[in-house]
Symmetry: C2
């Protein structure tokens, strides 16, 4: 009997690149739970949203990062990594795709800009249950020890659950010590936005250029949101849809259809 063949296949990717401490922490947290395969960008891809590479070709090279774990680095985006993994690397559809651990929060509106979540979403579109993990600490020296413990136990439960076809979770972990985490909270995405303020500068040749800066502002007073949960030291879990239809607005327009002939 080949028990190895029965182990779940866990595809791991991220958007900070294959050498980021966050993906190392994720691999270490779950490697005992299945056959882990890593396909991740060869450089940081933060803020790439759901970008895919159409206009130029991709490179993919096998690398040795973790003993006993097959790992590839890809010259493209997080979404490219998932597409390549499914089409060229894995011999069957994985049982789970995990993305992260992102260095920084992907709560609220950040889900839209997040490369971490775009990889997880790409997998969910493919019918692979998927979870994106982010730690609310942007530092490359972030302490992932509480995250590893938590993720290990969450992923074990998720593997054992019955899951719908496009199962997709956005998990954010507060930047506090393990013993200070208040619990795990199921949330909705908060309405928050960035108040942009481009930093306008002049280059040595007298030409203007702009750096994107901005302040994250929570506009949502709900106590059922991911922002609220993280502020209160909970791990936030937001189930994410791949159907972007606004059914509420659809109903509104349907009741008062402006294009009736």
């Amino acid at each position: 009997m080949n028990t190895a063949a029965e182990r779940p296949i866990i595809l791991i990717t991220n958007d900070d690149g294959i050498t980021a401490p966050g993906i190392r922490a994720l691999v270490e947290a779950v490697q005992h739970l299945g056959e882990v395969v890593v396909v991740a960008p060869d450089k940081p891809q933060s803020g790439m949203g759901h970008a895919i590479t159409i206009g130029h070709p991709l490179r993919m090279n096998k690398v040795h990062m973790w003993p006993g774990i097959q790992s590839w680095q890809v010259s493209g985006t997080p979404a490219d990594c998932v597409k390549l993994a499914v089409d060229k690397v894995l011999h069957r559809k994985p049982d789970l795709c995990l993305s992260g651990i992102n260095h920084g929060a992907n709560h609220a509106i950040n889900v839209i800009y997040s490369g971490t979540m775009s990889a997880a979403m790409e997998a969910a579109i493919e019918g692979i249950p998927s979870v994106g993990f982010s730690l609310c600490d942007y530092s490359m020296e972030a302490d992932f020890s509480a995250s590893k413990q938590l993720i290990s136990s969450m992923v074990e439960k998720i593997l054992g659950m019955e899951k719908e076809k496009h199962f997709l979770l956005n998990v954010n972990i507060p930047n506090v010590a393990a013993e200070l985490i208040a619990g795990i909270k199921l949330c909705r995405q908060a309405y928050a936005k960035y108040e942009e303020d481009f930093d306008e500068r002049t280059d040595p040749h007298g030409r203007r250029y702009y750096w994107l800066t901005g302040e994250f502002v929570n506009k949502d007073e709900g106590t059922d949101t991911d922002v609220w949960a993280l502020d209160h030291h909970y791990v936030s879990v937001v189930p994410i849809a791949i159907d972007f239809t606004n059914y509420h607005l659809k109903q509104q327009l349907s009741d008062n259809w402006p294009w009736a002939s």
Copy 2:
């Protein structure tokens, strides 16, 4: 009395770049309806999803594209263009943001990868009612005459409507002559996906590389979807949400919360 000050401000952007025929058609279709301001990428940005430019600075230059219409080209993504327009170009929040006309369909799952829709979504996040337009013809020589007629009348109605804060529509136009368009249909996003098949090649130095290719496959048999509408020569209108929470899955998980302590 300054009547000019009372005209609606219409921000126009796209993802095919400021020189694409599609944005020209959009400007021509709506310039009589308000004060049009164009802020668009200086080169094609298709497939950029909701990417934003964090790691390097942006350039923005005034260009003369259309007589009497203020136009800027930006070295970044469609989402960057909207952010810069709001922060640096416009003297007040525009009344409407239009993105397109995209050269190619943005129906079904394409909304996730679409630079056209990411610009529209960025505006909707800012509280600017927004519409993305796409013509189901990938050619740079596409015939936009039917689209212009249609968009002109749609935008006039949208300007006159009462709209909710995050009003966002994904409009796709079938590639048929004006007289063959069956009507305008309110739809939900179809579940469709790409069956990827990377084209694997070897470069002159013997190293492998991959081109993303893939076939769009509709997995949705509903007759209320955008794919169905376009197949039947309707213009599809899908209202799009900026809240990605999957409330159905949230309820499911809530009924059977796996992380109860």
